[in-house]
Symmetry: C2
């Protein structure tokens, strides 16, 4: 078994939702225009970046729905755009906090809107850009909710999905608060760094969409939901570790400048392990390099080498492989449908194979 | 008829919800603590300001519920905390955009969190404060949703209330986008300035909570909902105009520094009318004063005088009185219950009498 089937499922999901996602956003742009030209213009810019998402969360919601026995694929695909809109919104706020200027190969929202502010000759274009970026994410959160509450499911299943949704996004915001403290102070404990991954990513990327899908299929069996949660939790961890790896070893194709994680001074698992396993010289190098604004390509290369040489890379890779293994173990208990089993297994494997 | 009964309803609502609001927030603080100390600390700071709200929106939700025939007051009061949490969250983002350093007599969230950042010796305390303020509002939005989806109503009525909620908050965010452009560029048309009031306040403060209450009571009669919408829309306008008046003529008891609206360069209705009705000298004075950072008390006094002398104040006051009158006309068609009729009428009158 490899990640090919999972990769295929993901690209099928993208192909099948592309049109309705674009249509939904265009309809919203026209609604925004009734309020004013500025809201329409801002939502238009947001839409372009939103449509470029990997859509792992939306696809996972569909998969949770299918795994729980749901059969109305068109409806769940439409409803799943809600988690994509939410995610796109959260990234806008994330980019402000991380001072990320590029997202999915385009300038981040706060950067784009600062340019709009400049063209409007406002006094402080940067503050204008920041403000409008805050606003468009707020709008996206409630567009996300609107998609969900107007989707084609019974009120009972909707409320059940909404409970999963609200509970997890609250904790995602808490995880983000830890992450901000993480970057800013570098004083977090290992427990806190792991909490960031747990709440900001593993639960939010894996558990939330997967269990929302199950809720929309009407699944209430607590035992089976626990097994699904276990799969999705491991899925989220595998995803995040690969994200860290790509953040350090990936190229510009990711839509982010090389070395941006180092520049932000992110305490990723790779950095934590380099700190633990590396030499005094490695720790000295980390202290000098993490958070450095004028990072050279040579320094990025040096960091890559040290992470491998210290064994940090291998330890983290083994962790990720462990999560994939634990996730795969659950699959047989989630559903009897062979087709869905295969996709679930392949997709979690693909989380470590993916290069974007 | 005066505003006494409405004022009483409002203070009863505050007294009756105080304990459960504090309890809810404390429970959430303990849940946040499981994620980390920082999320708990941040939510604690947010709670102190949140509890100081005027709670007009929550009270209006209860009133919409009662007007539509609902009788489970305890449940609607608990559910109504959702709009209070949402509102408290939106204000945090609003204070960032308006650079307001004071809210409800306490330092704004971004100011408080910048101090936290300083105590943690982070590199950029201001950016830390900004980031955590963005985060706590995001958390508050989903705490708001959590309160609603876990409240004691049937899934059908909840989904119906959620549709009202999502639709209006999206437009509130668009209104906020216009407001940011409003302050920044001072190039908005009269239509756009009125759109800010319409979407950012009148619909959001009046229509949203009132119709959410009606939805929770199970009201589906479109004709009656239209009448309720008309009442609430006028309520929102009256509220906003008084807010502008208090922003210019109110004292520090409001929890905001005197003249802060002028300092922010807000294009309020009072400013729009002064621009239209005033002399060239008035317009010259406006151009020099709006957005001025080192505003003197004398300049605030001068602005107050010009707004009165030009007739702008009277025109705006008459507008507000018109909204109150139109709102009152609807009351008899909303409900046959004399008690609720009286409160509805008195409360909209109170919107122009209130000094806080």
């Amino acid at each position: 078994m490899d990640g090919a089937l999972g990769k295929q499922f993901l690209s099928d999901y993208i192909a099948q939702t592309n049109e309705s996602y674009a249509l939904l956003l265009n309809r919203e742009i026209e609604k925004a225009r009734k309020v004013g030209e500025i809201p329409a213009q801002i939502l238009e810019a947001f839409s372009k970046t939103a449509l470029r998402g990997k859509r792992i969360r939306g696809a996972l919601m569909q998969l949770g729905y299918e795994a729980a026995g749901g059969t109305d694929i068109a409806s769940v695909q439409h409803a799943s755009l809600s988690v994509e809109l939410l995610h796109a919104g959260l990234l806008v706020h994330d980019d402000i906090m991380d001072r990320d200027d590029v997202r999915r190969g385009l300038p981040s929202m706060h950067v784009q809107f600062a340019k709009v502010g400049k063209s409007l000759s406002v006094v402080d274009p940067k503050h204008f850009g920041l403000s409008q970026a805050i606003n468009i994410a707020d709008a996206a959160y409630y567009l996300s909710l609107e998609v969900l509450v107007n989707s084609d499911f019974s009120p009972e299943t909707l409320v059940s999905a909404l409970r999963v949704y609200a509970e997890h996004v609250v904790r995602t915001a808490y995880g983000q608060e830890l992450d901000v403290a993480n970057i800013a102070s570098q004083r977090l404990t290992e427990h806190e760094i792991l909490s960031v991954v747990k709440y900001k990513t593993a639960e939010y990327t894996g558990v939330m969409p997967f269990l929302m899908g199950a809720a929309l299929a009407g699944l209430e069996d607590e035992r089976r939901l626990d097994i699904m949660r276990e799969y999705a939790y491991n899925f989220g961890w595998a995803f995040q570790i690969q994200d860290d790896v790509l953040g350090l070893y990936g190229d510009e194709e990711l839509g982010k400048p090389i070395g941006s994680d180092i520049q932000e001074g992110k305490n990723t698992l790779l950095m934590l392990k380099l700190y633990e396993l590396g030499s005094d010289d490695d720790r000295e190098f980390m202290a000098q390099t993490l958070g450095k604004q004028d990072l050279s390509v040579a320094e990025v290369g040096e960091m890559r080498k040290r992470v491998k040489d210290s064994g940090a890379y291998q330890v983290v890779y083994d962790m990720a492989a462990g999560y994939v293994g634990k996730g795969r173990e659950q699959v047989i208990h989630i559903t009897h449908e062979k087709r869905v089993q295969n996709i679930l297994e392949s997709l979690i494997i693909y989380m470590l194979e993916r290069a974007v």
